[in-house]
Symmetry: C2
Subunit: 497 residues, 2 copies
Amino acid sequence: MNFKTPTSHLILFHMAIGWAVCLSLFAAESELKSDLVKRRHAMMEKIGNRGMLILFSGDRRTYSRDVNYEFRQESNLYYLTGIRQHGITLVLMPGNSSRREILFLPDRSANKELWTGKMLSVAEAAEISGIRNVWSASEFEPFIDSVFYGRPYRTSRYSTTTEYRDFFSGLRQGKAEVFLLLESRPGLTGKLSKEYEFSDRLRKRFTGLQIKDASSFFHQLRVIKSPYEISQLREAIDVTVQAHLEAMKNIRSDMWEYEIEALIEYTFKKSSSYSAFPSIVASGLNATTLHYQSSQKQIHDGELLLMDVGAEHNYYAADITRTVPVNGKFSKQQAQIYQLVLDAQRAALAIIRPGLPISSVHQKAVEIIRKGLFKMDLITSEEGTQYRVFFPHGTRHFLGLDTHDVGQSERLQSGMVITVEPGIYVREDSLDRLLERGVTAKQLDTIRRSIEKYKSIGVRIEDDVLVTDEGYELLSKQLPREITEIEALMANNENSR
Amino acid sequence: MNFKTPTSHLILFHMAIGWAVCLSLFAAESELKSDLVKRRHAMMEKIGNRGMLILFSGDRRTYSRDVNYEFRQESNLYYLTGIRQHGITLVLMPGNSSRREILFLPDRSANKELWTGKMLSVAEAAEISGIRNVWSASEFEPFIDSVFYGRPYRTSRYSTTTEYRDFFSGLRQGKAEVFLLLESRPGLTGKLSKEYEFSDRLRKRFTGLQIKDASSFFHQLRVIKSPYEISQLREAIDVTVQAHLEAMKNIRSDMWEYEIEALIEYTFKKSSSYSAFPSIVASGLNATTLHYQSSQKQIHDGELLLMDVGAEHNYYAADITRTVPVNGKFSKQQAQIYQLVLDAQRAALAIIRPGLPISSVHQKAVEIIRKGLFKMDLITSEEGTQYRVFFPHGTRHFLGLDTHDVGQSERLQSGMVITVEPGIYVREDSLDRLLERGVTAKQLDTIRRSIEKYKSIGVRIEDDVLVTDEGYELLSKQLPREITEIEALMANNENSR
């Protein structure tokens, strides 16, 4: 090799980059693996020696007829195994002498692999998860029989006498506990039918057995993010910031909402990501619908465009909202509402630190928005709930493997990742809603004029925040939020004013 | 207005385009509406006077935790109503004197509309569907009670004495029939739990009642496409052709499969379409997996790239596959396999005309591929099933509201739309599979050499075809298929040879 030419420098440079990428991927993988071991260890402490945790893979979801949506592993099962393949089952039995972790894996099949691609081998599943006992999925039922009924089975590895002693004695004394995912709100989370069927079956046979919901354990563990998880969230957030920038630079009036959405999701996908939730790209009046998803309206000069989107990268979700003027310049009324939302967000961010009651984040945003709405004559009292007509949602949620991530905690702690997302929406039915909240006939005219003045304005600003020992880090800080910044960024757009 | 300047000509031009688009949208809408009336009429003829059809809306599908995938209406319900909103129920009772069609629509709610957007009003649902009786979804249960139990209800519109006479007398004589969607293969189609729960309930109470599966009626009706449906399929196909062209022009080695997929789906989305099924973008060995979806491999010089993608436009699906050389030029072996697949497709297309037994399309493709594989020493006999090692799937499926559209017919008929998609895949386990199909030890060496020669080559060519009175029309003809055409198209790509 000749190292003198510029080309060869380029080659060296690319080699260096290549190695860096390769090493960082390798590092991430080994970081995940050691995370998985720690997570299962922490979970086993919660389950206890007479407990048993069983996690089933989620079902495939039908799109239409024989077409399924792309499969996504159930988050908690992924959290403990790192495995994305359909059909696995995880069993944790902390009381066992060995074999405290067992992963049941579908058998590879040449015909299935011909149709849908490579399936994990036992060795690969063990390598990814760090679980030594990887057994065939077909052995799950015999395994359950052996644990609960003491039935002998064809292989010696289910020998119940020593292995399951603690669980067994618990079963005899009516103290054994089986933990399943039985999270409430089946309408929202999708009924986990396997879990319910399984628990029904067990309940019918063992009166002494306690079947418990494992969800709260996961809520406790998942709420604090490891350095590996934070690095994955950073990547998801970076991709989402890029998508927002692409959108802002390309907005022009008379485009359609779906064209902007196309650009955003293209930016996700070419970065090996995809939408963590259906994108919200809402112009004009549509911006006053909180979860507007259809994206079928043409975007007009003079309107605001609200974009609430998030990339899911390596199973971790970002969630960022920006609201920008279609023509590149906020009108006076738009700027007033926008600035109020931004002030509320700034104030809510400013108080973030470990130990703060979580509810304070929302209270602070409410405090600022209430004052502002009162000054603008959109509400007649700073007391009560009138503000909720214009600010009807919460200010924060956890972020992680799920967009609305699980979490149980009264106070903020270092390592939590949350969104901070105040908003104001002046909907057409605002007046009716205010009348239900104590606005008198005398005040009606003033309010009506203000609503007319700000009508159809919907603004939300949402950023992603890591709670640190010192306070917080704004993970999405690369994306402009200030009015002047946004106007400067959009000044070169084709139809900017 | 001054009509002399070029600008004003431009304005006139845009006005003309605008009106044309507007009129064509209007025409499509009124065409759909008259289609819907005809479809329900045809369905009622099949149900008969003592029958009742009940179609429930599909469920929302959970992506993860509280995030749902974007909702898609159940295809048969959409086919009869044109309504995409969740939660509707359709009842057809052909024996009724009036009110033969009833649509149950969820009540609008200000709070739901604040969160997820506008819901259809009764008038809008009636306008879209052409159904005059649009009732509140909350009236469905009382309605059922009144029909089956003759219970009086608060409004007079359920007066059973005259309205449901035919159905009632059928019920008494044990001849009433209730048609539900009870299609088999619940594992594939997703168990339609509402239907099964409902039919269980009815079965327990009425021994004389016959509960039947309505699926075959839909299979019979949906298999022939109306001019409106053909126009929608053309649009879906045109968008898919554009996406393929974009991909072909932008492929270069060292890109990642997901980058090409991003470009394809961007083209869909900016045309107000989306993927009818998870895109297959498969390079090298991945092209030998029929439904490879993960798209996580880097694309290399010398490989083939197989793209099997389809836009869903206005609920109608396209489905087109092209296989192209990453570097713009087929190798000798790639060209041999490609040409054989193309010859098989051409031969299968050539025989398409009304009256042809549908199975002939596949038989013709098999005939050509068998001969070619035998010549290439990839199989040792033109008889038997050895060819299935390399061509393991069917050659055609129906296309329509579903990608694998429903259809019951022995023979091709004018108005059917089908795909024609032969393929050859030289997988790593081809030799093992051949051994199961009668290849002798003596022949093994020859075959092994051929498999080595063509290894990792996967080719599929899929086009969309309308059966016409005269024969057929190739709907996807705008997209190059010939080796020379593809190489010419890709000659300007950055890294083409």
